[in-house]
Homo-oligomer: 396 residues x 2
Amino acid sequence: MSHFIPHGFRFASVCSGIKHEAGRADLALIVSDVPATAAGVYTKNLVCAAPVTFDRERTPGRGFRAVVVNSGNANACTGKRGMEDAVAMARFAACAIGAADDAALVMSTGVIGHFLPMDKIEAGIYAAAQILASDEEALTNAAKGIMTTDTRHKLFSKSVTLDDGREVRIVGMAKGAGMIAPNMATFLGVVATDAVLEPEEAQSLLRTIADKTFNCITVEGHTSTNDTLILLANGAAGGASAASNPDFCAALESVCEDLARSIPEDGEGASHLVTIRVLGLKEESHARTIAKLIAESPLVKCAFAGNDPNWGRIVSAAGYSGVEFDVSKVSLRVNQFLLFQNGAPVDFDPETVAKSMRENKEIDVELRFGEGTASARFWTCDLTKEYVSINADYHT
Amino acid sequence: MSHFIPHGFRFASVCSGIKHEAGRADLALIVSDVPATAAGVYTKNLVCAAPVTFDRERTPGRGFRAVVVNSGNANACTGKRGMEDAVAMARFAACAIGAADDAALVMSTGVIGHFLPMDKIEAGIYAAAQILASDEEALTNAAKGIMTTDTRHKLFSKSVTLDDGREVRIVGMAKGAGMIAPNMATFLGVVATDAVLEPEEAQSLLRTIADKTFNCITVEGHTSTNDTLILLANGAAGGASAASNPDFCAALESVCEDLARSIPEDGEGASHLVTIRVLGLKEESHARTIAKLIAESPLVKCAFAGNDPNWGRIVSAAGYSGVEFDVSKVSLRVNQFLLFQNGAPVDFDPETVAKSMRENKEIDVELRFGEGTASARFWTCDLTKEYVSINADYHT
């Protein structure tokens, strides 16, 4: 599959030796040839990694030329030295491409509590800078270089024609599949576009879209110390700001939604991608609370793993959300099959529904209330024995 | 092991045929020979079963002679007919022991969304009433009759001598091991004492103790539709009210704590009972929030299953609790071994700590903050492949 690569961006990754497995890329560079606007959305974990603190202080802003990402070591819980290392890593990246010292942002993912091997990081950055390219292969290599327990790289792109006839391109890459051995992992995402965006516009747009996409996914509900999403807009397509163009905003959201869904789809041990749609509440926050609780219930997720249309676990999860509702107005559909209505289960054939679940990688859950018009959508994966193996047996 | 059986109580259970497995007791009667005070604490799930609604309306109160419990069918999501069945079930129990119509409370646990087989319930109640006894065997049989996926019955008792020299006895039984196939299960508990307690005293005492015991346990954080805890105090020991006697209150709490711990200890698929102690917060609610989040984190629970002293998962779970704290004042101990201090991991030998976890059924986690003096304690179990099997593969 070929992607729409925004103008003025180049990509590279190398095996710098941070990861123990020989031949696995662990350092990626995303470079803009001209200064770009950057916006960021970060983990809300109070225990956050040095790169998160570093980027958060600098975005939104303009004049950025690079994002440097390493996998295999999260540079988290590393104190003062961890922050010095993040600063140095950003400076190496900026210097390696001939930009100003403060022109790079930085991301790290992998084990926590260990210092970065700065000699390998420095050598890796300079090596990556030598092979930067704007082709499909370089883009794919960069997406692979940020992976940890992911079983596949995650890359999506869109092209939009604006009102003035200009083409604008958006490409996004992400990693994340759960929190990983031996300590934890993370969600990381970089979205690059050649559209023109001012820093505050980019920040506002990214925040709104993240709340509908990346903030609606869960593998097991454990917020990492390193979660980071960066948007780079270098304006190479020219023209006016695209921030208020509905086609551009829709395309940006679409790329983010595709990336977001790909995380639980590739969730550790997952056999199903599950969409939880909650409708008919008084307020969106109520719908989100219920959707998130269902998406994170180990019992619901085990039922999905067993292809069981277990209406009781889903309805009872809504019941302990703290949201007030009239049970007699609740209905539940799984893969379009009506299972529950008017406060009681309906007469359905469990085997027919189970077959539909078993035969589809995706499961659709629609829980409808009679309280109002607000809705929310979450994506999650099922909870399998393989998930437990990955997260319990990693030392053996 | 022989128990302290309070005076004036008799017990029985029978196989009434509600459960499909032949020979498994599924109906228990706990009877007081004299009218007793009753107090209750119930599920906070908005979707709650008919017996919960029935008992909640009647407690606290006096004049109760019996609690009738069936396992195998939860009488939940059964609408108007479910409530009629709960009323009838209580009346059968009262009639069977020659008490007033409104002298019985009722509990159900098992599958949800199915009507109770009232003919079997009625016959079972009358059969149980014929074999009521106040000995160890009858008590144990009653505790077995309320089990669902529990691998063992749960019974604890205490004897206390009050200031006036009178002996007061307390015995408690409980069931619960997770939410079970094909829909869900529940925590149920009955505590009987021959102490004198007024209804409001009993209610206040039970609420306070439940908040420190039964409300501090979690298997997977899914609140059932049927959770019920009933305290019966029949005053057969005579004397004044025991409500303000510290020895009695401590003994009642001790029985409740033993019962509470026995639930995650027998958690579905569990190989460890884990105590999470959180200390040094400004407010108790902060400590509870953090303790509960750690106790329910699938990643933390998988690490326990793998006997891994994974400080990162524990500390980062505290970090996303929403509670403000200074990471540099946090320290973490697992089985007394110091793993984390001053915001960073310390130099410890993972194999020594792992060995201690592997060789002990119980794991102790102490997470200490530097914010204040409030603390909380939760009990949980680990998350194993067997848990997923029990909750995913129950149809195969």
